[in-house]
C-alpha cells in the first residue's frame, strides 16, 4: 500500500514538476516563468562604455520603454560576436526614419557584460567601436560589482559556465524588458526581427497605470 502511494506520489510530483510531462529542462521552466510574469531584472548599478552610470530599467515612474538586453563578454570570439552582428542589424533598423505611426522611440539595445573582472569601460568602449555601436540606440555596460552581476543574471535565469578554454558558455539570447525590468519576451539570436517588432509594440503600449 505504501509502495503504491509512493509510486503515485512520484508520478504526481513529476507531473507537477514537468508541467504535465512537457517541460524537462531549465530553459523550458524559464519560459514558463516568463509567461507567468515571474522574472524581473534585478536593478543593478552599471558602468557604461563611455564611463557614465546609466539608469535603465527598474524605474516605476519611467515612460514606456523596451530594452532588448543580451549578455556578452568582450573576449568572446564566437557567439557574442554573432549576437553583436544581430544588434548591428537592429541598430540599423532603429536608425531608419519611419512614418508617424511607427514608434521608434523608447526602444533601446543593451549589451551587458558578465565578465566583471575583464570588461571595464575601456574594454567596452573598444568593443563598441569594433561593433560600430551608436550610443543613441545601443548601450554597452557592465555591472559595477560581482554581486550585482550575479543578482542580475540570477534574476533573469541566465547561467554562465566556464567553457574550459578561458571563455564562457551561457543560456539566454535576447531578453525583452519593459521600463520596470519585467521580462516580457525571450528570443533566440536568429529571432532578432521578431524581438525588435515586439519591443516596438511594447514601447508603443501606454502604461496600464496611466490609462
Amino acid at each position: 500500500m505504501l509502495c503504491l502511494a509512493l509510486a503515485l506520489g512520484w508520478v504526481a510530483g513529476l507531473h507537477h514538476w514537468t508541467h504535465g510531462f512537457e517541460v524537462w529542462t531549465f530553459d523550458g521552466r524559464r519560459q514558463l516563468q516568463l509567461q507567468a510574469g515571474e522574472l524581473h531584472a534585478h536593478p543593478v548599478a552599471l558602468r557604461a562604455s563611455d564611463g557614465s552610470v546609466p539608469r535603465l530599467w527598474g524605474d516605476a515612474g519611467a515612460a514606456p520603454a523596451a530594452y532588448l538586453v543580451d549578455f556578452i563578454y568582450t573576449r568572446c570570439p564566437s557567439v557574442c560576436r554573432a549576437l553583436g552582428s544581430e544588434y548591428q542589424q537592429m541598430q540599423r533598423e532603429l536608425a531608419v526614419p519611419r512614418d508617424a505611426q511607427q514608434v521608434q522611440r523608447g526602444v533601446y539595445l543593451v549589451s551587458v557584460s558578465f565578465d566583471v573582472d575583464h570588461d571595464d569601460p575601456v574594454q567596452l568602449a573598444r568593443y563598441a567601436a569594433d561593433m560600430h555601436a551608436d550610443p543613441r540606440y545601443w548601450t554597452l555596460a557592465v555591472p559595477a560589482t560581482h554581486d550585482g552581476a550575479r543578482a542580475l543574471l540570477r534574476s533573469l535565469g541566465v547561467v554562465v559556465v566556464p567553457d574550459g578554454e578561458g571563455g564562457f558558455v551561457h543560456n539566454g539570447g535576447i531578453h525583452l524588458l519593459d521600463e520596470r525590468g519585467r521580462l516580457r519576451g525571450l528570443y533566440g539570436i536568429d529571432q532578432w526581427p521578431k524581438a525588435l517588432e515586439a519591443a516596438q509594440r511594447l514601447a508603443a503600449t501606454p502604461r496600464e497605470d496611466l490609462r
Partner: protein
C-alpha cells in the same frame, strides 16, 4: 581472523558513510558538481553508498532492533525501498532537476537526502525482495539509465544550463555503460546464486545483529530472506 575482517569491514563502512561530509568543503564540491559526469556518475552513487553503509553500520546494533522492525513494516519485501530508489534515480536524471540541485539550496538538500535514504532502505530491503521483483527493479533501473544516457548522447544542444555539451555526451556514455554494467552484475549474481533450498532465512524475527552476522557470512548475492 573473522573479527579482524569484520573490524576492517566496519571501518570501510564508516569511511563510506562519512564520505558525503567531504562535500561540505566548498572547493571539492565545486570540482565535483562543475562536471556533469562527476556529479551524476560520482556524487550520486557516493551518496547512495553512504546511505547503504550507514544502514549497515547502524542496524546491526541491538538498540536498532525496534527501528529495523518498524522499517521492515513500512518496507514490505523491500518494495518501498525499490520504489523510492527507482523514483530517485528517475528524478535526478532529469536535466531540470540537475540544474535545480545546483541553483536552489532546497534542490541540493533534496538530492542529498533522497540518494542517501534510497541507499539506507535498499541496504536492508534488497535481500528481502522476491527474485522476480529484484530482477524487475534492476532491469527497470538499467533501462532508465540507458534511456537517459542515449538521450544525453544524442541531444544536439545542452540540456542542462550548468553543463557543457561535451560533458553531457560523456555523461550519456557513462550512463549507458552503467546500465550495461548493472545488467552484467545482475546476470553474474544470478548465475552464482545457489539453489533456493540453500537460501537463508533472515526475516523480521531475526535480530539485527543476527541478521547482519548471517549476511556477512554469506555471499552478497546468495542469501534471500522473506518477511513473515
Amino acid at each position: 581472523m573473522n573479527r579482524r575482517l569484520a573490524s576492517s569491514r566496519g571501518a570501510w563502512r564508516l569511511w563510506l558513510a562519512l564520505l558525503p561530509l567531504a562535500l561540505a568543503w566548498p572547493a571539492l564540491r565545486h570540482i565535483v558538481e562543475s562536471r556533469m559526469s562527476l556529479h551524476m556518475l560520482g556524487e550520486f552513487p557516493m551518496l547512495f553508498i553512504a546511505g547503504w553503509s550507514a544502514s549497515g553500520l547502524c542496524l546491526r546494533h541491538v538498540q536498532a532492533r525496534r527501528w529495523l522492525r518498524g522499517q521492515r513494516l513500512l518496507d514490505w519485501h523491500g518494495w518501498t525501498g525499490a520504489t523510492l530508489a527507482s523514483g530517485v534515480a528517475l528524478v535526478w536524471m532529469l536535466p531540470s532537476a540537475l540544474d535545480a540541485a545546483l541553483l536552489v539550496p532546497s534542490g541540493a538538500a533534496a538530492k542529498l537526502a533522497s540518494w542517501w535514504l534510497a541507499g539506507w532502505l535498499l541496504a536492508d530491503g534488497w535481500r528481502r525482495m522476491d527474485a522476480e521483483v529484484l530482477l524487475f527493479f534492476i532491469g527497470n533501473l538499467a533501462w532508465m539509465l540507458a534511456t537517459a544516457g542515449l538521450l544525453y548522447v544524442d541531444a544536439p544542444a545542452r540540456l542542462c544550463a550548468n553543463y557543457l555539451l561535451d560533458d553531457q555526451r560523456w555523461t550519456g556514455i557513462g550512463l549507458v555503460s552503467s546500465a550495461v554494467a548493472l545488467l552484467a552484475l545482475a546476470a553474474s549474481a544470478g548465475v552464482r546464486r545457489p539453489a533456493a533450498g540453500n537460501s537463508h532465512r533472515c526475516g523480521g524475527n531475526a535480530s539485527p545483529r543476527t541478521h547482519h552476522a548471517t549476511m556477512a557470512s554469506t555471499s552478497s548475492t546468495s542469501s534471500r530472506s522473506r518477511q513473515p
